[in-house]
């Protein structure tokens, strides 16, 4: 255990500048790296052989890759929301969570971005989704939600990276100033972009962050509404639903909060941040998660209601199929993880128990993955012509990509924990100045 520094801000800087990585970090990083290598191997095999290495088929032409994509981008959403929306609404407690939540966003969105590209039959032509001048005058097909999606992800990735980076500028300067080795001074110095801590800098930085937050928050909503439109513009029963955009936004926030919990609890303990990230923070997060989880549960109920209310035979057959068909276990696992387990959070004892929160958080993450799988696969495996019904069976490569992407995410996060300040040092200082 590291000694606790006198000031929280100094402790955070100290973590980056002076602390040698412990065994726990090294073991975790080795594990994450192994999974990342698995992902890399998967990518190579995929590029050589084709997406047929996965279990996708006709009629289930989308499987794990799209599930993983939606799951990751949903997780990514939580970070921006916690950081930017709470910033705009001036919730001071966010400071403890904002930095690592933003990092989580950047990494999750980056990891999610792998999937829509790799899931293409010919991934090397992914740039055809971009409008770029070419000699034959080809242009994206603007009626397709996949074209919109391409812009939504790109915009979101750019904004969340910039928001993350801008927010770190003063901390980079602090690291530069505190660094003792020449190499670190240069690296952090370059990253600090010449920050000298002048009042002008601070004033501009504050304005910029406010503006970025104002840009990021609507993007949070737009990107996930957009992901929902990837499905709901289709005519497929189970996808073609107006509730999808808000439903997806809620689901994304839900899984984002869960990931902030699941990352924060062990990080707090291993980095000795108990005085900065308090139980109270997690309790608030748990409340937020409960509220959003209820919206998600409302979405589940409304899906069933609209299916029956529509009177459409296929919609009703689909709802029944989810309850009792081949993938019913996925449906009920989703409900169990996302809606039932969540109810524990009504109790303050649970909200203040870190192991309990960890369990609920993990369940929600699992449940949200299941939900995406359920929404995608059960809608298309039994469509209107029974002759073309067919199951989806994942292959080992499907799992390799899922766990490999988790490995990549964790590897990135572990590097973040080691080389960047996990909390906004300048904000902690400001807090310290104004008691």
């Amino acid at each position: 255990m590291t000694r606790v520094a006198i000031l929280p801000a100094d402790h955070v800087l100290d973590l980056v500048l002076n602390r040698r990585p412990g065994r726990l970090w090294a073991a975790s990083f080795a594990g994450a790296l192994t999974l990342t290598i698995l992902l890399a191997a998967g990518v190579v095999v995929l590029l050589v052989r084709g997406v047929g290495i996965w279990g996708i088929d006709m009629p289930v032409a989308w499987g794990f890759a799209i599930t993983d994509y939606v799951w990751w981008i949903g997780i990514g959403m939580g970070g921006t929301f916690i950081s930017a929306a709470l910033y705009l609404t001036r919730q001071p407690w966010r400071t403890a969570l904002s930095r690592y939540a933003e990092a989580m966003t950047v990494f999750a969105v980056s990891v999610s971005g792998i999937f829509p590209i790799l899931h293409l039959g010919r991934p090397w032509f992914f740039y055809w989704l971009m409008p770029y001048p070419d000699r034959i005058g080809l242009w994206p097909q603007w009626r397709s939600s996949l074209s919109w999606d391409f812009f939504a992800i790109t915009a979101y990735l750019i904004v969340s990276v910039l928001y993350f980076y801008m927010g770190m500028l003063p901390d980079m300067a602090a690291l530069r100033d505190g660094a003792r080795s020449r190499g670190r001074q240069v690296v952090y110095g370059l990253l600090a972009l010449g920050w000298r801590g002048e009042a002008r800098h601070w004033q501009r930085h504050r304005t910029l962050m406010l503006l970025w937050a104002a840009v990021a928050v609507p993007l949070v909503f737009s990107v996930h509404s957009m992901v929902a439109l990837d499905f709901s513009v289709g005519q497929v029963a189970g996808w073609h639903s107006t509730i999808f955009p808000p439903f997806f936004v809620a689901g994304a926030l839900f899984s984002g909060c869960a990931m902030v919990l699941v990352l924060g609890i062990p990080m707090r303990r291993s980095l000795g941040l108990e005085t900065i990230i308090t139980i109270d923070h997690f309790e608030k997060l748990a409340r937020l998660m409960l509220a959003i989880g209820l919206i998600v549960a409302y979405g589940y109920v409304m899906e069933v209601f609209t299916a029956y209310y529509s009177g459409d035979a296929q919609e009703i057959a689909l709802a029944r199929n989810r309850f009792g068909g081949a993938y019913a276990w996925v449906y009920w696992s989703t409900i169990g993880c996302n809606s039932l387990a969540l109810q524990a959070l009504w109790w303050r004892r649970v909200r203040t128990s870190l192991p309990a929160l960890m369990v609920v958080g993990i369940l929600v993450l699992v449940g949200m993955w299941m939900e995406r799988f359920m929404l995608i696969v059960t809608s298309i495996y039994r469509e209107r012509l029974p002759s073309s019904w067919g199951m989806f069976y994942p292959t080992l490569w499907d799992f390799a990509f899922l766990f490999g992407s988790i490995g990549l995410f964790l590897a990135l996060f572990l590097l973040f924990v080691r080389y960047l300040p996990v909390l906004p040092v300048f904000e902690l200082r400001q807090e310290g100045e104004t008691p």
């Binding site: 052989r49 084709g50 997406v51 047929g52 290495i53 279990g55 996708i56 088929d57 006709m58 009629p59 289930v60 032409a61 989308w62 899931h119 293409l120 039959g121 010919r122 991934p123 032509f125 992914f126 055809w128 989704l129 080809l138 242009w139 994206p140 097909q141 009626r143 397709s144 939600s145 996949l146 074209s147 999606d149 391409f150 990837d230 513009v233 289709g234 005519q235 497929v236 035979a313 057959a317 298309i380 039994r382 469509e383 209107r384 012509l385 029974p386 002759s387 073309s388 019904w389 067919g390 199951m391 069976y393």
Partner: protein, 976 residues
């Protein structure tokens, strides 16, 4: 190649064999090792000078030689003989891109008149010959797939002696010895052939028997009509073949007979049957089918009665008794519909037909002959043809094997047969073959039999050789080569001629001599593909001896409670297994089970429930010492205690494609009763094998996918199938183009034969994906034939529905493609732009008809030169990661456009014929310009039976369906 010396040519042939025998990495290793092969040096003398050190120049030279050798495999063009295309100017005309030649092939026990399309001399597609009376333009799946067989890299390419590459010269030396040895006494010389459809070959067989006095000719087909001929022999005193004329039959009763599926003349039967079933004319032929295992005929019947195989002879007895021709009735029979059927038959004297299938024993056929006679059908709906002397006088396989075991056979010549596989295993043909001093196998493949013989001689493919073929109705076709031989094979005629010493004639001269044709008459025969004058007269016969023989089926055997009947059936695509190395046929879903790549024991739902068996559970069938392990498949409509086995599986030397696929039902077949086995024990092994079926769900689940009614109900409400008026749409209507292409598919005409699927596969270069990929649901067929059951699983009604792309006017696929790879053209085609497709697959998810196919892996074959040569040059070959689907044969539409533009006219109705439409035996598919009310397709769409699939989605499909109408007998309860 013509500049090569004979010696060089032989070296080239041997090399070609070894090049083609190698695969993958070995292929290239083989090429490298050639540098040291003396035969190579003979062919490419410059290689000899290069020595060990490979400098750049030498390397380039070697590369050049490699290319030349790789090219050997594919360099072939039109044959050197003068052949005559169907259209065009024949000799002297400038080479055309695509030419059609009329020829014929013998497949599935009958002769098909075909047209072969060649592109720059390469045959690429087979269609039916419109001028052939049996085919009338249609073909079945197996016939079409022969184009793939022609280009099969696994075909035998050179003679083998003692399993080592040899030459024809060596064989010719051995043949000279044969002539000497057996010239005086040929009794130890035997020939085993399949059924001879060629008159020239029959003449040669006669010459053979004269040249080698005492020699015997044996004929064996794993799937033959021996019982039918024997039954007619019982009835009329001489073996005969029936020729059915369904066009005259208004009431048909089939007994274990797949009239539309696997009987000779099935194409014509299907066409005539459908022609008499147009509900708008007010009357329809009525079809009753009694069968122990579901067939296409049963699927299209108005009444289908599943009945255990051992009970069917009893039914025939009862039927005969009711019609006054039988001697005994059958008091045990429970068949409530019998009186209604008998009355229906009696009301149609002279216009009815009772057909018994090849699997019923001879006495039943004799009885059925008497029934048809009593019904006055002889001369109207049924005729009899004489059997060739060579066939009626030929020995059997069993007789041959007995002689072989008795060491009475020194030399055995096996022509185009594979008895080591296809004979009942109990005969132990392989063991008998060891007792033959010299065995010679002549065939298209180095198969199971070739591996056991001293000599293997490659035969030419029917598309490479001259011959003549007599069809089931007596029509004689000329078989003309459409390509010069790809490999060092010989034709059957050349082989026989060579052995008997008739070496002066070539095959064309032999065929011309057989039919005494020359000059313009010969040209006309080649052009048309048939010799008009050569129709065999039917035999005029007196009354048959009233058979009345008690049922010869062992139905009287007390059936133990746990024993089952086993019946054997030809495989719908592999026939007796000879097509096992044909990927198209392996992957073509069998019409009723939708199974691919592996045969199964079909069991009834009740038997499966009783034994707690599920699809894919492996059972062992035991009949005496004979054993067979095979996975089961639950078949609705299967008779309760009958298990059906398809022949053709379990080949062990079929080639890269077919080896090891399926279970070999010959293991269970008995020589004396090749089609039926009673008292078979079925024991679950506890093991499973996942079978690759293309349709997992069988019912329509209450959705109006196939709309169907009865004739009576149709008369009352002709537009029962019509949906609601087209709802409004948010999307603007497209401005009409010059044409509006559309298709109408008549579900009343579709018999579900799958010919369209293969036609499409051949026309559009659709790859074969393999069993594993089919299990994953990744088959690529652009037009699939869906099969649905309604009613009780024990005796369901069966409907088939071909589903190509609907070419929706408001296509859901188009709006979701982010790169615009699927777009609409001005003539209403929903186009797929392969080179723009990035493979998001959203279009497939959004297609409610699920007609889109995705190249999940690199499915197109690039390894062999043959597969490149075989492809349709008009159609792009798709790479992996690309979506594809039915294009309405856009290449044919474009050809018609070009033709019409050149002549300054509009495209006429019927000028564009899609591949699926062209081969359909029942003309169920109509295609054309729907904007013009006068076209056939517009008239079809105006029919009250016309409806759109999933019309509630407002996709406005251009492909629509005509509802199916059945004509049940109102006197039969509960089955209407």
């Amino acid at each position: 190649m013509s500049s090569l010396t004979a010696r060089q040519r032989e070296a080239a042939q041997a090399l070609r064999a070894s090049v083609n025998g190698a695969r993958g990495e070995h292929y290239w290793r083989a090429l490298e090792s050639f540098a040291d092969d003396p035969r190579v040096h003979e062919l490419f003398p410059q290689l000899r000078d290069m020595g060990a050190s490979l400098d750049r120049r030498a390397f380039l030279k070697l590369m050049g030689a490699s290319m030349a050798m790789a090219g050997l495999a594919a360099c072939s063009g039109p044959p050197s003989d003068r052949i005559v295309p169907l259209l065009g100017r024949g000799d002297g005309a400038p080479p055309q891109r695509s030419l059609f030649y009329a020829t014929a092939v013998a497949v599935a026990g009958e002769v098909a008149g075909i047209l072969v399309e060649t592109n720059e001399g390469r045959p690429t597609k087979i269609e039916g010959n419109p001028e052939h009376p049996l085919n009338a333009g249609a073909t079945d799946a197996i016939t079409q797939a022969m184009i793939l067989e022609l280009w099969d890299p696994d075909r035998s390419q050179t003679p083998y002696r003692k399993q080592a590459v040899a030459s024809w010269d060596t064989f010719d030396g051995d043949a000279a010895v044969l002539r000497q040895t057996y010239g005086k006494d040929g009794s130890r010389l035997r020939v085993l052939s399949g059924r001879l459809h060629s008159t020239t070959a029959i003449d040669q067989a006669g010459q053979w028997l004269r040249r080698f006095p005492g020699s015997r000719w044996h004929i064996h087909e794993a799937i033959d009509d021996a019982a039918v001929m024997a039954g007619l022999d019982l009835a009329y005193g001489r073996p005969l073949r029936p020729r059915l004329d369904v066009s005259h039959a208004r009431v048909i009763l089939t007994l274990e007979a797949d009239l539309l599926g696997d009987m000779p003349g099935k194409m014509k039967a299907a066409r005539d049957f459908t022609a008499n079933r147009d509900p708008t004319t007010g009357s329809m032929t009525r079809l009753y089918a009694v069968e122990s295992s579901p067939t296409l005929t049963g699927a299209n019947a108005d009444h289908t009665f599943p009945m255990d195989a051992s009970d069917i002879p009893g039914l025939v007895d009862a039927l005969a008794a009711k019609l006054g021709v039988g001697l005994q009735s059958n008091p045990d029979l429970v068949f409530p519909a019998l009186d209604a059927i008998v009355n229906d038959l009696k009301m149609h004297i002279g216009t009815s037909l009772v057909v018994a299938g090849r699997s019923l024993p001879a006495p039943v056929h004799a009885c059925v002959a008497a029934i048809n006679h009593a019904l006055g059908n002889v001369g109207t709906s049924i005729h009899y043809l004489p059997v060739e002397d060579i066939e009626s006088g030929a020995g059997t396989l069993a007789g041959l094997v007995a002689d072989m075991h008795a060491r009475k056979v020194d030399t055995l010549l096996i022509l185009d047969g594979n008895p080591a596989y296809a004979a009942p295993a109990m005969l132990d043909f392989a063991g008998a073959l060891k007792k033959v001093r010299q065995s010679i196998h002549f065939g298209l493949y180095r198969d199971e039999t070739a591996a056991l013989c001293d000599w293997h001689l490659p035969s030419l493919h029917p598309l490479e050789a001259w011959s003549d073929l007599r069809a089931a109705d007596g029509t004689v076709s000329v078989q003309q080569p459409v390509i010069s031989p790809l490999y060092a094979g010989r034709s059957l005629h050349a082989l026989l001629g060579g052995i008997i010493g008739d070496v002066d004639n070539d095959d064309m001269a032999r065929v011309m001599a057989t039919w005494k044709l020359s000059g313009s008459a010969w040209d006309e025969a080649l052009r048309r593909g048939s010799i008009n004058t050569a129709v065999t007269p039917t035999v005029m016969l007196g009354a048959p001896r009233v058979a009345g023989t008690p049922s010869a089926m062992p139905s009287s055997q007390a059936r133990s409670a746990d024993a089952v009947d086993v019946v054997f059936r030809p495989d719908a695509t592999l026939w007796d297994g000879r097509h096992a190395n044909n990927g198209w046929l392996q992957e073509l879903p069998r019409p009723l089970t939708r199974l691919t790549w592996h045969n199964a024991a079909l069991v009834s739902p009740s038997l499966a429930a009783e034994r707690k068996l599920a699809n894919g559970d492996i059972v062992e069938l035991r009949a005496g010492k004979r054993r067979l392990e095979i996975p089961i498949w639950i078949a609705p409509g299967q008779a309760p205690r009958t298990v059906a086995l398809a022949l053709g599986g379990g080949r062990w030397r079929a080639g890269q494609v077919g080896t090891g696929q399926g279970s070999n039902a010959n293991a269970l077949r008995h020589t004396d009763s090749p089609w039926f086995e009673a008292g078979v024990q079925m024991i679950a092994t506890g093991r499973r094998r996942e079978l690759a079926s293309t349709q997992e769900h069988q019912a329509m689940n209450g959705r109006d996918i196939v709309r169907a009614s009865t004739l009576d109900a149709f008369r009352d409400n002709p537009s029962f199938a019509r949906g609601k008026p087209t709802p409004p749409s948010f999307y603007p209507d497209r401005s009409p183009g010059e044409y509006a292409w559309g298709m109408s598919i008549d579900l009343n005409a579709c018999i579900g034969c799958n010919a369209c699927t293969i036609a499409c596969q051949s026309e559009n270069n659709i790859p074969v994906v393999g069993e594993d990929q089919v299990r994953r649901g990744r088959q690529m067929h652009w037009i699939r034939v869906d099969r649905y059951y309604t009613g009780q699983p024990a005796a369901p009604r069966t409907f088939h529905q071909p589903v190509p792309c609907m070419h929706c006017e408001h296509a859901p696929c188009e709006v979701v493609c982010p790169v615009g790879a699927t777009v609409h053209d001005s003539e209403g085609l929903n186009l797929q732009v392969y080179n723009r497709c990035v493979g998001t697959r959203f279009c497939a998810n959004n297609c409610p008809y699920k007609v889109r196919r995705f190249n999940f892996l690199e499915f197109s074959e690039w390894a062999s030169e043959q597969s490149k040569a075989r492809r349709n040059p008009e159609v792009t070959v798709r790479s992996r990661g690309v979506m594809e689907k039915c294009t309405y044969c856009v290449q044919r539409i474009e050809s018609a456009h070009i033709e019409a533009d050149r002549e300054g006219r509009r495209i006429a109705d019927g000028e564009v014929v899609t591949a699926c439409q062209a081969v359909c035996p029942t003309k169920a598919i109509v295609f054309g310009n729907v904007a013009d009310d006068a076209t056939a397709v517009a008239r079809a769409k105006a029919s009250p039976r016309s409806y759109a699939l999933l019309e509630e989605l407002n996709t406005r499909p251009r492909t629509t369906y005509l509802a199916a109408i059945r004509n049940p007998n109102p006197a039969i309860e509960g089955d209407a």
